[in-house]
Each structure stands twice: as structure tokens, then as C-alpha cells.
């Protein structure tokens, strides 16, 4: 803005404050002393042009498809191709989830996303004592490569992309997927998909771990190196803010800790001897989209701008694809309420709209009934239709970054960025994210934020409709998805059948090879693929890592 125009705006603003605003406040005082986002960032009454000295809009906002990608990673964004509608699904046995996948594909979904059950996430077989009551309950149970084969029966693995939400044992599940593809004659180079494989956020927030942080990072490195060589279309790590946010973090913490995790992974890849531009383009992100509409849009825009700068300036990446923050998003599970569940459809729709206006590449929308159980088919369909309505009826996909240039959105984007850099500097000073985790730093920050928010709810400084305001005396009943109690028995039976019929000597040799690679610091992926092909189970493989590296125990932080 030229100085003359800036002066005219400032003059107009002063006059407005002294006249129109003053009169208005005299007649109608504002509702609150202080307005703030759900993350408690203060929001001003009005945002105008030219706020903040020395702003250089061209460099900060730029053009879509170009550095720093504030306005999106593609020049045409959704005019070229809509985002991928990717609903997360998994429950019961592999057969149950396979049927849900076929249903979702028939309803127009364009990518698959697998939820695994808790024992699988923790690297336990379905017959482990700790798996009691948890088999197939919050996701699908996968014990051996045979379950993986059933899970993808009738699905052309070289034509769909598959996202697998798996972290501590991501290497094992990836090996199983590769093995199933190989058995069907599909070249691993043709496989497209994502494993979450983000172990740092497990220690920070999601808490599904196996071995301690440092050996965990070594296993992530092995996957990075293996995929860079053998699976060029595979997204090796989905660096996830989602779980950090769901654990009670603010938007700033989600943004900062996620990017700090990303920094640690890029450094790990470089330390493993990879060229940054050989693996950085296959890193992707996964953000939460919460209730505060503009804060979420700003968070996604800030994330892209910050990552571009981190990759180009901090790591010296030269390929523009390394600078791009590609992201999946999911509406905020934590925002859903058990009370008045139909309201969750509205929350999810607004969050999904924020995700789209924030420029995400793929999106999962939560179902209204997910506070109590995995969703019913009807609830999932409404959630998928929500995305289709946004895509085809609202018109928001007609232009690129429709909120770009909004005084408020740009100011909020700057603010989130500034606060997130401050966190990243603090984490750098501690020696990076691994060291920060070992000190419990991000966990403590999140616990503080979530307690603060809960207190704001108690004081009704923040309102949740149907919970601390506008509550009903009687609960609204809704149908819930039931997991068949027979699932656990059937799954354990199949696992035992596989164990009884496989070549025990071959399994033993494969697990020994894996142990040797783990002990000697070699890449664990090739022996891991051999072990799953020999029908070694997930639990047996993870036991090798537990024996070599030890089991992680968290220092409980209140």
C-alpha cells in the first residue's frame, strides 16, 4: 500500500472510532469484554488494510502453486480436481471392514483409509492377554498377512490409494501390504498410499507406542530409506497434528508441534544419508479442523507458508515439491457431543467447510454418532454427503483460496505463524523434538491447555451448545453401531490356524534375520517383508523389537 493511501485509511479509521463506533458502543455495549478464538487467541473488533508495519503481501501471500504456497499448493486448486473424500473405516474382522470399503467406494468415495484396532496399534496379537475386550472394537484386527489379504479382497491395489492409520508398527503393516500386492503380481512401484508412521506425535499425544523414542526414530528412518528406493509413490510419513489437537492442544500448539515433528523427520532422513529432495516430496501432513472457523483456515494457510520456509531455508531443499505442505484433514472428533447428537452434523459441516477453505488435499468428515461408537452406515453416509454438498452445491470450489486477502484471515494467519515460530524456537533450543519429548515438554503444554479450556467451559466463558448451554433434560437416543462379540473369537481362531499351518522353521529363521538387522543397525525393512511373507504375526515381529530395544514406559505427567 502506498504511503498516501495508508494515511487515508488511518485517518478514516480514527474518524470512525471517534464517531460511528463511539455512538454505536454508547447505544449497544458489546456482548463480551474480550473476544477470543477457541484456542484463546484474542480477536480484535475489526481488521483493516495495512495492519502491521512493513507487510509485504506479495511475499507473504503470493500466488497459488508457488512459494510460499499460502494460497494453496496448486495453481487451480479445486477447479482442477476436488479434494479426495477419504472416510476412515475399520471394525471387526477383515471381512467386515472389506465390506464397508466396497460400500464406500460404491457411494463415490475416492480413496481408502484403514482404522486398526487397539491391539494392532500397540503391536499385540489378538490372543495377547492385553487384547482382551479390544479386538476389532475401534478398528480392524490384523494379525498376519492373511488378514491383510482379506481386508483388500476385490480391491485393485494398483488403482486405489490406501491410507493406513498405523504408527508404532507401521513398518509391519506396510510390509504386509507390499506382500499382498506382490502375491497378486503388482509391482511395489505402482502402489500409492500413506502410512501414518508418525511416532513422535504418539509420544506427544496419541500414546500408542512400542519401543522408546530413539529406536522408534531408527525404525522410521528404515521406512524412509526403503520407500524412497522401492515405493516411490508411497507417502512415508503423515505428520499429524490431529491427535495433538484432540489431546487438548490449542491451534497454535497443533501447528507448532506438528511442524517441529516434521523438522525432526526431515533431519532423520538427511542423517540416514538421503538427499532431501529425494524423500521430502513424499512427506504429507494431517491436521485437525476444529470449531473456530477462521482460526482453522488461518492455521492451514500458516502451516503451508511455514513448511515452505522450513524446507527451503532450513533444509536447503531445491525441488518445489519438497516445499509443498500437502495435507489430509479430519473434522474434530473432540468437538462432537454425546448430547443432542444431530447437532454434530452441523458442527462437522462447518468444520469441513473450513478445511476446504483452508485448501486441504483430502478430508474425512466425522459422523454424528462417534462419541459413543464407530459410526453406523447411515451416519457415515450423511458425513460423506456433507463433503459432496460442499463440493458440488456451495460454490466454494469455484475459485482459489476465496478467503485470501480477508483482513481478518490474513492477520490471523500471521498471528498463528508468529506464535508457532516461538514454540519451534523453544524446541530447537531444547535440542529438537526428540529431546523435548524426553523432557515431557509438549505433553505438559498440552495438559495445561486442555485444563485451561475445561475451566473456561465450567465458567461458561466458552459455550458448547447442548452441553453447558441450551441443554435438554432428556437424552436423544440414536442407533449405535455394534461390534459383534464373536469377532474376538473368530479372529483368534484364524490367527491360531495360521500359526498351526505355516512353516515354523521358516518363521523362526525370518525372525532371527530381523533380530540381527535390528541389533546390528541394518535396515530392518527387507527382513521384515520376508518375515510377514513367512506368516510371522504382528505380535511376534514386535516382540523382536521389544527384546532388542526395550519397551517404552511413559513418565505420567499431570
Amino acid at each position: 500500500m502506498d504511503p498516501g493511501e495508508r494515511a487515508r485509511w488511518e485517518e478514516a479509521r480514527r474518524r470512525w472510532e471517534a464517531t460511528t463506533l463511539r455512538d454505536s458502543l454508547a447505544r449497544h455495549p458489546e456482548r463480551l469484554e474480550r473476544f477470543s478464538t477457541v484456542s484463546d487467541l484474542e480477536v480484535a473488533r475489526l481488521y483493516g488494510p495495512g495492519e502491521g508495519a512493513g507487510r509485504d503481501d506479495l511475499a507473504r501471500i503470493g500466488l497459488p502453486g508457488e512459494y510460499p504456497f499460502t494460497r494453496g499448493i496448486h495453481a487451480t486448486m479445486y477447479r482442477g480436481r476436488l479434494w479426495t473424500m477419504r472416510m476412515f473405516a475399520g471394525f471387526g474382522t477383515a471381512e467386515d471392514t472389506n465390506a464397508r470399503f466396497h460400500y464406500l467406494l460404491s457411494q463415490g468415495q475416492t480413496g481408502l483409509s484403514v482404522a486398526f484396532d487397539m491391539p494392532t496399534l500397540m503391536g499385540y496379537d489378538s490372543d495377547h492377554p492385553r487384547a482382551l475386550g479390544e479386538v476389532g472394537r475401534e478398528g480392524v484386527a490384523v494379525d498376519t498377512v492373511e488378514d491383510m489379504d482379506i481386508l483388500f479382497r476385490g480391491i485393485p491395489l494398483d488403482q486405489v490409494t490406501t491410507s493406513m492409520t498405523i504408527n508404532a508398527p507401521a513398518n509391519v503393516l506396510l510390509a504386509m501390504y507390499v506382500a499382498v500386492a506382490a502375491d497378486r503380481g503388482i509391482d511395489p512401484r505402482a502402489l500409492g498410499g500413506t502410512i501414518q508412521n508418525d511416532i513422535l506425535k504418539e509420544f506427544i499425544a496419541q500414546k500408542e507406542w512400542i519401543v522408546p523414542p530413539r529406536p522408534s526414530m531408527k525404525l522410521v528412518q528404515d521406512v524412509l530409506v526403503y520407500c524412497t528406493r522401492e515405493l516411490p509413490r508411497w507417502n512415508t510419513i503423515s505428520i499429524s497434528g490431529y491427535h495433538i489437537r484432540e489431546a487438548g492442544a490449542t491451534a497454535v500448539q497443533e501447528l507448532a508441534f506438528t511442524l517441529a515433528d516434521g523438522i525432526a523427520y526431515v533431519q532423520a532422513g538427511i542423517d540416514a544419508g538421503l538427499d532431501v529432495d529425494a524423500f521430502a516430496p513424499r512427506l504429507s501432513f494431517f491436521f485437525d479442523v476444529h470449531n473456530d472457523f477462521f482460526e482453522e483456515v488461518a492455521k492451514l494457510r500458516a502451516a503451508r507458508r511455514m513448511w515452505a520456509r522450513i524446507m527451503r531455508e532450513r533444509f536447503g531443499a531445491r525441488a518445489p515439491r519438497s516445499w509443498m505442505l500437502r495435507t489430509h484433514a479430519q473434522t474434530a472428533g473432540v468437538s462432537l457431543t454425546a448430547q443432542q447428537p444431530l447437532n454434530n452434523i452441523v458442527r462437522t459441516a462447518l468444520q469441513a467447510l473450513a478445511a476446504v477453505l483452508g485448501g486441504v488435499q483430502s478430508l474425512h468428515t466425522n459422523s454424528m454418532d462417534e462419541t459413543y461408537a464407530l459410526p453406523t452406515e447411515e451416519a457415515v453416509t450423511v458425513a460423506l454427503r456433507t463433503q459432496q454438498i460442499i463440493a458440488h452445491e456451495t460454490g466454494v470450489a469455484n475459485t482459489v483460496d476465496p478467503l485470501g486477502g480477508s483482513y481478518f484471515v490474513e492477520a490471523l494467519t500471521d498471528r498463528l505463524e508468529e506464535e508457532a515460530w516461538a514454540y519451534i524456537r523453544r524446541i530447537d533450543e531444547m535440542g529438537g523434538m526428540l529431546a523435548a519429548i524426553e523432557r515431557g515438554y509438549p505433553m505438559r503444554e498440552i495438559a495445561e491447555a486442555s485444563y485451561r479450556y475445561q475451566q473456561q467451559l465450567e465458567r461458561r466463558e466458552k459455550i458448547v451448545v447442548g452441553v453447558n448451554a441450551f441443554a435438554d433434560a432428556e437424552p436423544t437416543p440414536i442407533p449405535l453401531h455394534k461390534v459383534d462379540p464373536e469377532v474376538e473369537r473368530r479372529q483368534v481362531e484364524r490367527l491360531r490356524r495360521v500359526r498351526a499351518t505355516r512353516d515354523a522353521g521358516a518363521v523362526h529363521r525370518a525372525l532371527e534375520d530381523l533380530r540381527r538387522a535390528a541389533e546390528e543397525g541394518g535396515n530392518t525393512m527387507p527382513p521384515l517383508v520376508e518375515a510377514v511373507r513367512a506368516r510371522a504375526s504382528l505380535g511376534e515381529i514386535c516382540d523382536v523389537f521389544r527384546r532388542v530395544y526395550g519397551e517404552y514406559r511413559e513418565q505420567a505427567i499431570l
Binding site: M118, A373, A556
Partner: protein, 137 residues
């Protein structure tokens, strides 16, 4: 002599990592003047019962969101009984469908708090229902 301080174990069974609720409730009880011990994640019923006995607590608050409540909560109560600690008050909170609550109460769970319960409700329930063991009203 003042009333002995009530000790509460906040426990997190199951394989899931959803510990936001457990931590928030633990802090609220601590702020309300209780002595609070938090087990950390991924505890088995055996680990919870033995921690309760070792720490000589008056109550256990169990946070569970994995859907395994019907399998795990009654087991904690049974183990306490086996160890002669049946007077420890056990309450629970988390993602527990209404239809499961009567069964849990019959199994010895004193109260079940469902999503959206305020901290104030939990603290005030503890105030009226939990007494130091052996000092029964």
C-alpha cells in the same frame, strides 16, 4: 486432628491413549484438595488393583474410552475383593453407553460419568460419596 486426607487413584485401563479426561479430572480433584495418584496409560485391571492396594487409596476413578469397559471394570472390582479391599469406592467415566451403566453398577461400580459431565459434578459426587477407608460415616 483434622480429617485424614482422602487419597484417590485415577486409573487409565485399555490400550487407547485418550488421557485428556483422566488428566483433567485428576487435576480438578487435586485442586479440590484430594491427594491424587495417576497411574498413567495402558493399565491392566491387575495393575490398577495392585496400585490401589499398595497406595492404600480410598477410591479409584477409572477413565475408559476404548469400549472395553464391560470386560475391564468389573474385573477391577473383583480383584479388589480378592485382595480384601472391597471398601475402596470405584467410579468410572468415559465413553460408556447408557444401556451399559446398570450392568456396571450391579458389578460394583459406584457411579458412571458420561461425556459432558462437568468437573464440578464429579468433585461434588466424590465429596459426598468418598470417605477415608475405615472412617465410615
Amino acid at each position: 486432628m483434622g480429617e485424614p486426607r482422602v487419597r484417590i487413584l485415577i486409573a487409565k485401563p485399555g490400550l487407547d491413549g485418550h488421557d485428556r479426561g483422566a488428566k483433567v479430572v485428576a487435576r480438578a480433584l487435586r485442586d479440590a484438595g484430594y491427594e491424587v495418584i495417576y497411574t498413567g496409560l495402558h493399565q491392566t485391571p491387575e495393575m490398577i488393583a495392585s496400585a490401589a492396594v499398595q497406595e492404600d487409596v480410598d477410591a479409584i476413578g477409572i477413565s475408559i474410552l476404548s469400549g472395553a469397559h464391560n470386560a475391564l471394570l468389573p474385573r477391577v472390582v473383583a480383584l479388589l475383593r480378592e485382595q480384601g479391599a472391597e471398601d475402596v469406592t470405584v467410579f468410572a467415566g468415559g465413553v460408556i453407553p447408557d444401556e451399559d451403566i446398570p450392568g456396571l453398577k450391579a458389578a460394583g461400580i459406584a457411579e458412571v460419568f458420561t461425556p459432558g459431565t462437568s468437573l464440578e459434578e464429579i468433585v461434588s459426587w466424590v465429596r459426598t460419596h468418598v470417605r477415608p477407608r475405615g472412617v465410615r460415616a
